[in-house]
Structure formats: structure tokens, C-alpha cells
């Protein structure tokens, strides 16, 4: 495990849900510190103060812990667990009100990229936004980005080659790469650093991806991201 990464605890009434969410998140965040706190101590339906407390301790490297919960009493149990933490630990643990599955995956990808506690919290919260899904394939007939000659702006249009388009794993890879640049990168109007934003585009094979970047390393960002898309994410 990379030292100093933000950890995640998934609190659910069901052990299967919490463990299933870890398996799902692992597809895109293989190295993130993830803990499942599902079910009661006896394996029944409910939430366990002990499991939540143990989960926080297990994934806390010092960089912070984000706790995501399903139904009401999971939040109550998590809040109670926080009350029993030492003050210095409690200061870096956040319970985030976000959809468990979407928020958990987005937060795990952010944690995987080495994001700060605030950034992981934002990633989880981004799942709660009512951002209507855009279907890029419908509007992707417009081709040809306008190249701006100034150093702070770059753009490109690239056609998706891989079979499943920007689905979960390639989208995560794309977001991870985009997050390594300082430039603000936009993909068909969506923030390239937001996994859920990218996935909501629903870009499939043959869709044209319009990349726009603004910032000091805009050229590098566009070059690298365009190359990644052209590579077919290892799926062609």
C-alpha cells in the first residue's frame, strides 16, 4: 500500500454489499486502502460499531479516512464510532453523505490517484450531484477541435477505438492520467478529473472525444490523454 494515501471505509447493513463494493472499486483502484464494515458482529443485517471502528483503524495511514454509509443507522453508528476516536484521529476522518456505490467508486479512484482528503471527499460528493448524463455519442458528430496557438490552451479530437468505449476501467485510467496534470481538462464539456462525469458521457466505440485543456501543461495533458485514447486502453 502506498504510504500516506487516504483510506475508505464502506459501512453497510449488509456484509455482502460492503464486500461487493470493495470488489467493484478494486477494479479501478487496485491499491487503495479499502475496508468493509458490513453487517453486525454476528454477520446479520445491521451495522457494527466494532467493525466501523476497526475499519477506520485499518485504513488510517495518517492521510485521512473517508467513511461512506448506506441507510440511516449506518450513519448513526459511524458517527458514534467517530465520537470514540482520539481527537487527532477524529480530525482526519470524514463521514460523507453520498450514494454508497457511486460515491464509493469515485472516492476509491481518487484515493488511488493519491488525492488529498478534501479531494477524495469531493470525489465522493460528486456522485450526489444531479448532473444529467450527456450522451456523447449523440453529439459526437462534430469533429475537429480548434487548436489555440497560445501555450495555455490546447485541444484535440480523438475517436474512441476500444470495444467498450470509456466504460469503467478505461474511464478510471483516463481520470487517473488527467489528474496528473495541473491543467484544467474538459472532455465533451465534462471535467476530465471526475470519474463519474466521464462515465456519465456514455462514450462508446466510434464516439469522438473532444479534449480541451487550459493551464501551464495543457499541451502535455492533451498529448498524453489523446495518446491514451488512441492506444485503445489495451483493449484493441
Amino acid at each position: 500500500m502506498s504510504g500516506g494515501a487516504v483510506g475508505l471505509v464502506f459501512v453497510s447493513h449488509s456484509a455482502l454489499i460492503a464486500e461487493g463494493l470493495i470488489a467493484l472499486a478494486r477494479q479501478m483502484a487496485p491499491d487503495a486502502a479499502l475496508a468493509a464494515a458490513g453487517g453486525t458482529d454476528e454477520g446479520g443485517i445491521g451495522t457494527s460499531f466494532e467493525l466501523v471502528s476497526a475499519g477506520i483503524a485499518a485504513v488510517d495511514s495518517g492521510a485521512g479516512v473517508v467513511v461512506l454509509c448506506d441507510l440511516g443507522s449506518a450513519i448513526l453508528t459511524a458517527e458514534t464510532a467517530l465520537d470514540f476516536l482520539d481527537d487527532d484521529v477524529r480530525g482526519r476522518v470524514r463521514i460523507v453523505d453520498a450514494p454508497l456505490v457511486e460515491g464509493g467508486v469515485a472516492a476509491a479512484v481518487a484515493a488511488q490517484t493519491g488525492a488529498s482528503l478534501d479531494e477524495v471527499v469531493d470525489a465522493a460528493r460528486s456522485a450526489a450531484g444531479g448532473d444529467p448524463a450527456q450522451h456523447g455519442a449523440d453529439e459526437a458528430t462534430r469533429a475537429g477541435g480548434s487548436d489555440d496557438p497560445t501555450a495555455s490552451h490546447a485541444a484535440a479530437s480523438v475517436t474512441l477505438r476500444n470495444k467498450d468505449g470509456l466504460h469503467a476501467r478505461p474511464a478510471a485510467e483516463f481520470v487517473k492520467l488527467a489528474s496528473t496534470f495541473a491543467a484544467k481538462v474538459v472532455v465533451n464539456g465534462k471535467d476530465a478529473k471526475s470519474l463519474l462525469g466521464i462515465m456519465s458521457l456514455g462514450l462508446v466505440k466510434g464516439a469522438v472525444v473532444e479534449l480541451q485543456a487550459d493551464g501551464p501543461d495543457a499541451e502535455d495533458a492533451i498529448g498524453a490523454l489523446a495518446s491514451l485514447i488512441e492506444s485503445g486502453f489495451g483493449e484493441v
Binding site: I45, L71, S73, L76, E79, T80, D83
Partner: protein
């Protein structure tokens, strides 16, 4: 009986007994408008307290007993009532810390802290069809009884009576917190199980003070 550590132990034993006695009723109430686990969860939690009471030193204060019950409920109940009652008893314990014998004002402070703990944890208000609808009338009645110069035992009896009335008054309400809030108007006509269990727990407190607690 003075409201000392032995009273607190009798209260917790009485709570375990009354919850076990009404387990099926609480399950049924919760099945009507919730997930059906309230009676079972509370029974498990209070049952887990019982063996620990036997290990308490003779000079244990009410605060010591309440804290023991709080941490046990938090770690064994498994549903929302664990953190809610656990926080209530923990805050109550802090409110009467160090006192060996509770007077009427201390009883009011205990009940007020418990209710405030539940509000803090669950963020529910009066009228949301939750246990707060039993606790708040109980606190108000206890305050009035203490102000009227009643004994600690009578203060608890007043609180228990008011909690029972508060629980009954949840029946016509639409729930705004907890699982029942998913049901909308279908929750009307059903008594909130948390308010009902609150009135049982306060009855146990009053019975223990009156010397009627389970031995």
C-alpha cells in the same frame, strides 16, 4: 430507594426485563413501519448488559452504570437504536458524573442530557415520529415535577407517564426520520417503536426508583 448505583443497576435489569417482555410487540410495531428488528436488537443489547452488572463494584455510581450500559448498547445492538440509546445514556452519565445519590434536579439533568444526546445523534425534532416524541414530553414533565418539589422517584414516574402519552401521540403522525419516513402517509395509524421502547425504559427507571424493579 435512593437513586444510587443500586438504583441504576435495578433500572438496567428492569429495562432488560421489560424489553424482553415486549420484544414481540416492538418487533411487530417496527415491522409495520420499519425493518422489524427493534425488539430483537434491544433485547440483544440489554441482555448483553446483564452479566456485566454482576461485575460492578459496590461503590459504582449511577454514572458508572449508565456508561457501562451505553458502551454495551453501542457495540451490541446493531440498529439505529444502539447509537441512539447508547449516546443518550453516555450523555446522561456525563450529566450526573460523580454523584452517588441523585436528587430531583439531577434526574431532570440526566433525562435532559439523554434526550439531547438522541437529538444530537438522530437530528430528529418533536413531531418527526421518533423516540424524541416520547423523550421530550418526559423531560418537560420531569422538569415540572421537580419544580413542584416532587421526590426523585415521583419525577421519574411523571417522566414515564408523559413518555407513554408521547408514544401514543406518534400514531397519527407521518414520519420524517428513520425507515418509516420512506412510507409517507402509510405510517399514519402506527405507533413509533422507538417512542414505545422509550416509554418502557422510563417505566423501568420509575419502577426501580419505587422499589419495584426486577431484583
Amino acid at each position: 430507594m435512593g437513586l444510587n448505583g443500586a438504583w441504576a443497576i435495578a433500572w438496567m435489569r428492569g429495562s432488560a426485563a421489560v424489553v424482553a417482555e415486549h420484544r414481540v410487540e416492538l418487533i411487530t410495531l417496527d415491522r409495520d413501519i420499519g425493518d422489524g428488528d427493534h425488539g430483537e436488537n434491544l433485547d440483544r443489547g440489554f441482555s448483553a448488559i446483564l452479566p456485566k452488572l454482576d461485575e460492578q463494584p459496590a461503590d459504582a455510581t449511577p454514572a458508572d452504570i449508565l456508561k457501562l450500559a451505553a458502551t454495551t448498547l453501542i457495540s451490541t445492538v446493531g440498529g439505529a437504536s444502539g447509537p441512539l440509546y447508547g449516546t443518550a445514556l453516555l450523555k446522561a452519565s456525563i450529566a450526573v458524573a460523580g454523584q452517588e445519590d441523585l436528587d430531583a434536579d439531577a434526574v431532570v439533568a440526566l433525562l435532559t442530557a439523554a434526550r439531547d444526546g438522541i437529538v444530537l445523534r438522530g437530528k430528529a425534532e418533536v413531531g418527526d415520529k421518533t423516540m424524541v416524541d416520547a423523550w421530550t414530553p418526559a423531560v418537560d414533565a420531569a422538569s415540572a415535577a421537580a419544580a413542584a418539589g416532587e421526590s426523585p422517584a415521583r419525577v421519574l414516574a411523571a417522566a414515564a407517564d408523559a413518555a407513554w402519552g408521547g408514544a401514543a401521540a406518534t400514531e397519527p403522525l407521518v414520519a420524517r426520520k428513520g425507515r418509516a419516513s420512506y412510507l409517507g402517509e402509510r405510517a399514519i395509524g402506527h405507533r413509533d417503536p422507538g417512542a414505545q421502547s422509550t416509554s418502557y425504559l422510563l417505566q423501568a427507571a420509575a419502577a426501580a426508583a419505587a422499589g419495584e424493579g426486577a431484583a
